[in-house]
């Protein structure tokens, strides 16, 4: 529509991601490197899945709409599976790299823990996924027109931006849960992560009925967020203490006297 819609949608889609990047990642060069490497891994997975989809579309009958829709669903499922596969691959790579880093560095402890790596890689996946979801839509939102002359819903830009924000945060939560599950060898957690990713992606087939796709996605995001918080070491007691500003008292109370 205009510049105000462009900026509004950009801030909605990338607001949390930018905030997270600024405060937690930008100061530490090692985290930045792992973030970019994670984004690259996601990009490669997208490239592979789009190659497969593209070839299958060229082979198929372009005129038949049900066949094209079936191919789209197939493409989405394949893409999700490939993304999770590459997440696993990244995890393996990071484990090996961590041993190497430890051997190289002079210190005794690891410069970056596997939990932080999980968070950073999840955010990297999220950044790249969000960029690919929404950049072309943002580019068209700068022009004077809005979606609708052919009968589509008017809320296209806004709902795309909200969906992107959910996806970015979801990737971050999935990253944390995934790496934690791999560490503790809890394979059923992995299955749940993959299943929820599939569910969120397939929910987008409800569009343009945006309520049907956005509301469940946000519910899933909230649930995954709670789970990731627990995997990362948080607990309800800590949260309550933080919120009521009693955390310092707690620390002081637990301070062992010399």
């Amino acid at each position: 529509m205009t510049a105000s819609v462009f900026f509004g949608c950009t801030f909605i889609a990338f607001g949390p991601a930018i905030a997270l990047f600024l405060f937690t990642i930008a100061r530490d060069p090692l985290r930045v490197i792992f973030l970019i490497a994670g984004a690259f891994f996601w990009l490669v997975s997208l490239l592979l899945s789009s190659l497969v989809w593209f070839i299958s579309v060229q082979i198929s009958n372009k005129e038949s709409a049900p066949q094209q829709r079936g191919l789209l669903i197939f493409g989405v499922v394949l893409s999700v599976l490939l993304q999770e596969l590459f997440r696993f691959g990244y995890y393996k790579l990071l484990k090996k790299a961590n041993e190497g880093l430890l051997a190289l560095s002079q210190e005794e402890t690891m410069p970056i823990s596997i939990r932080q790596l999980a968070y950073v890689s999840g955010l990297g996946f999220g950044f790249m996924s969000g960029a690919f979801s929404v950049i072309n839509i943002l580019a068209d939102s700068v022009g004077p027109g809005t979606v609708g002359i052919h009968g589509d819903s008017q809320h296209y830009f806004l709902s795309s931006a909200f969906m992107t924000m959910a996806i970015i945060l979801l990737h971050m939560f999935w990253g944390v849960v995934f790496f934690d599950a791999c560490e503790k060898k809890r394979w059923w957690c992995l299955v749940i992560v993959v299943a929820s990713h599939l569910l969120v992606s397939c929910l987008t087939f409800q569009n343009p009925y945006y309520v049907g796709s956005l509301v469940p996605t946000y519910i899933i995001m909230f649930l995954m967020g709670v789970w990731a918080f627990c995997c990362a070491g948080g607990s309800l007691r800590n949260l309550k203490l933080c919120l009521t500003c009693k955390d310092k008292d707690f620390l002081l109370a637990n301070h062992r006297p010399r």
Binding site: S4, F7, A19, F23, G143, P144, T146, D152, N238, N254
Partner: protein, 702 residues
């Protein structure tokens, strides 16, 4: 992988690169591009700029179909959603409405005019009431009583819209499926039902036609980089101009210039161009095209007899381009003659016959106009009387009604006036109006084939329409015969030969079809050279003079037709035809004649047309105003018209959302950003504590 499947995959990838790239599906959801639109562009002269201008990125406005002149109130004062893009039906495209829109232009984003499929009733002429007022021969010094159309108002229906300056874009739309989409969008979203306010999202249109040049020709030529010093030269305007077509009954030495000894010439002139408010739809059927088609047919009628029995004086046929814009072509030819840059000069001219607007002669009869001021000279008076007497006698023998207007009436706007400005020459202008123009659509988009009654019976294929001789064609052929016989007599030819001079009706019908309906027809395909074949399309040629050498223009086609009608075929091969060394004989040389290789027709048992070489006297002479040659961009004697350049011209429709929805989105975005910054900052500072339950508290304190 074996070699075959690798090759297969690579092949697929390459194919994919070709197909996969272009479609941007989000843009297709938003915009509908309007094809087939004609913009109004900006023209500049020494002192003014006329035409339309849009903002750099285009102007966006909410669509409103104007129902009547009273409905203007809604657009100018009452409506809640300015700026508006006003869409006018043809009957509302008049001076009153356009001036009101011009004055209220802060609320008007642009105007779109729907060109109807058939001409409206009444009169409409966007040209001025006194065409070419300051560059004709009638000035204060020549005769104050006749200057500025004090004697006769030539174009009384003129409302001067073409010469107004508008600060918003104006486009013309065809009345077809595209416009139907716009109407549907308007009905669905914009229509205010019984006083209620239309609710967002509203249907809107964007028109882009940003013109680079401003103020006047002096400014834009100064800003154009003609010094050649800059690496990235930027031109902002181009002078209007094209080429004149001229030829003669006898070869004139093109390499000689200045006065030609022992040569007296009768000039037969007509104008090639016409204009309208929208330059893309200017056919000028009566204004200009009827004149040059008649002269071409007359040249064809005279071709044989001037070869067999050459008259004492040569007839020089001149077709002038750019006459609507202060006589660009004729002023340049007179300038060349005066400056010894043309094979003959003004002293060689014995007399001049010009064919003006003759398309409506069937109802009005024909009239020969003369210049009263030059006729005060006795010798000129005798010559003019001679000429008009010849006209009368030929007309009566052909049963055409021909009359002379009042002797004190001046000449109508005609190229002859530029010749008179240089030197008194006896001459007449042949038209279909006695005083003011009978053409009620002078220089407008409605002066088309339908106005000339060029209609065919229903159910004919294009080929049959092409060969059908309408009454219009028969009428114009008669006028051409009249002109041809008069020219032959005026050139001193024998009276006995007159009966054999007849213009061919089928040729006139072919020319009318080719120049007013479509250029793609069997005759044109046979008489053009092979390189120019792709330029023949299913549209009529552009009769607007344009800039540089516009390949859509009619100039080249006129030169081919002239060559075909007056030239002869020569038996040489294609390479020799273009080689000037082939013709050593002085009479055949390329100084005296021009040679063109044309396609020809396909013989019965062949697939390719058999081309041949045509010898004729056709020449093209540059029709650019002497003002640009001399660098006098503020000249008041010569035409200084130039056309602005532009980068992008397009039109599209889409929906616009309300301002509040946009602000809501922006506010929401800012809120989300601020909230996430706050939460992240908070979580980050407390991170050690928040995520500590997996570790022993003791470790956390060190």
């Amino acid at each position: 992988m074996d070699l075959i499947s690798t090759k297969w995959i690579i092949h697929l990838l390459l194919c994919g690169l070709f197909y996969g790239v272009s479609c941007n599906s989000v843009e297709q959801k938003i915009y509908i591009n309007l094809n087939d639109t004609v913009p109004c562009v900006r023209l500049l002269n020494a002192t003014h700029q006329i035409g339309c201008q849009s903002s750099l990125g285009g102007d966006v406005g909410v669509i409103h179909f104007l129902e009547s002149e009273q409905n203007l109130e809604y657009v100018l004062t009452n409506g809640n959603n300015p700026p508006y893009m006003v869409i006018l039906e043809s009957h509302l495209f008049n001076r009153d409405v356009m001036m009101k829109l011009k004055n209220g232009s802060s609320r008007i984003a642009g105007v779109a005019v729907i060109k109807p499929n058939s001409n409206p009733a009444g009169a409409f002429s966007p040209h001025t009431t006194c065409p070419n007022e300051n560059t004709g021969v009638y000035s204060e010094s020549y005769d104050p009583a006749l200057a500025h159309c004090n004697g006769t108002m030539w174009n009384p229906n003129g409302n001067g819209l073409s010469y107004e300056e508008f600060s918003f874009p104006i486009f013309s739309l065809k009345d077809d499926n595209g416009t139907e989409v716009i109407r549907q969008c308007y009905m669905d979203h914009n229509r205010a039902v019984n006083g209620s306010v239309p609710v967002y999202p509203l249907c809107a249109m964007e028109l882009s036609s940003h013109m680079s040049a401003v103020t006047d020709t002096v400014t834009c030529m100064r800003r154009s980089d003609t010094s050649g010093l800059s690496l990235n030269p930027e031109q902002v305007c181009d002078p209007l101009g094209n080429y004149n077509v001229w030829g003669a009954t006898k070869g004139l030495n093109n390499s000689a210039s200045g006065h030609s000894e022992n040569e007296t010439v009768v000039v037969a002139a007509a104008r090639l161009d016409s204009r309208a408010f929208f330059h893309g739809i200017s056919l000028g059927a009566d204004s200009g095209t009827s004149g040059f088609i008649t002269l071409l047919a007359a040249a064809g009628a005279l071709a044989n007899v001037t070869r067999e029995a050459p008259p004492p004086r040569t007839v020089l046929y001149a077709f002038f381009q750019g006459e609507s814009f202060d006589y660009i072509g004729s002023s340049r030819m007179v300038y060349d003659m005066q400056g010894d840059k043309f094979p003959i000069d003004l002293d060689n001219i014995h007399s001049l016959v010009e064919i003006g607007q003759v398309g409506l002669h069937a109802s009005e009869g024909l009239w020969v106009h003369t210049d009263p001021v030059s006729r005060r000279n006795a010798s000129i008076e005798t010559e003019v009387k001679n000429l008009t007497d010849i006209f009368r006698s030929v007309a009566s023998s052909l049963n055409i009604s021909l009359g002379e207007p009042d002797v004190s009436q001046p000449l109508p706007p005609a190229s002859f006036q530029r010749f008179l400005r240089a030197q008194p020459i006896p001459g007449v202008v042949l038209t279909d109006h006695r005083t003011s123009f009978t053409n009620s659509f002078f220089e407008s988009m409605y002066d088309n084939a339908e106005y000339l009654n060029l209609t065919f019976p229903a159910g004919l294929t294009p080929e049959e329409q092409f060969n059908y001789v309408t009454d219009t064609a028969k009428g114009l052929a008669k006028v051409a015969t009249l002109a041809a016989r008069t020219l032959y007599r005026q050139a001193g030819g024998a009276e006995e030969r007159l009966a054999g001079i007849n213009a061919d009706e089928l040729t006139v019908a072919h020319m009318l079809y080719g120049f007013l309906i479509q250029t793609k027809n069997p005759w044109f395909e046979a008489i053009v050279s092979p390189e120019d074949l792709p330029a023949l399309r299913a549209f009529p040629p552009e009769h607007y003079v344009g800039v540089n050498f516009n390949s859509n223009s009619s100039t080249k086609l006129v030169s081919y037709v002239f060559a075909n009608l007056t030239g002869t075929a020569v038996n040489v091969s294609r390479e020799n035809c273009s080689n000037s060394g082939t013709f050593e004989d002085a009479a055949d040389s390329t100084d005296m004649n021009s040679y063109t290789w044309v396609r020809g027709v396909t013989p019965p048992n062949a697939t390719e047309p058999a081309g041949y070489c045509v010898r004729s006297t056709t020449r093209l002479s540059r029709a650019e105003s002497p003002a640009f040659l001399l660098g006098e961009f503020n000249s008041s004697t010569y035409s200084t018209w130039s056309e602005s350049r532009w980068k992008k011209i397009n039109a599209r429709i889409f929906l616009v959302a309300g301002h509040d929805l946009e602000m809501l989105t922006l506010g929401l975005g800012l809120a989300v950003l601020l909230l996430s910054l706050l939460i992240t900052f908070f979580v980050n500072t407390k991170a050690d504590f928040l995520f500590s339950s997996g570790r022993e508290p003791a470790n956390a304190t060190y």
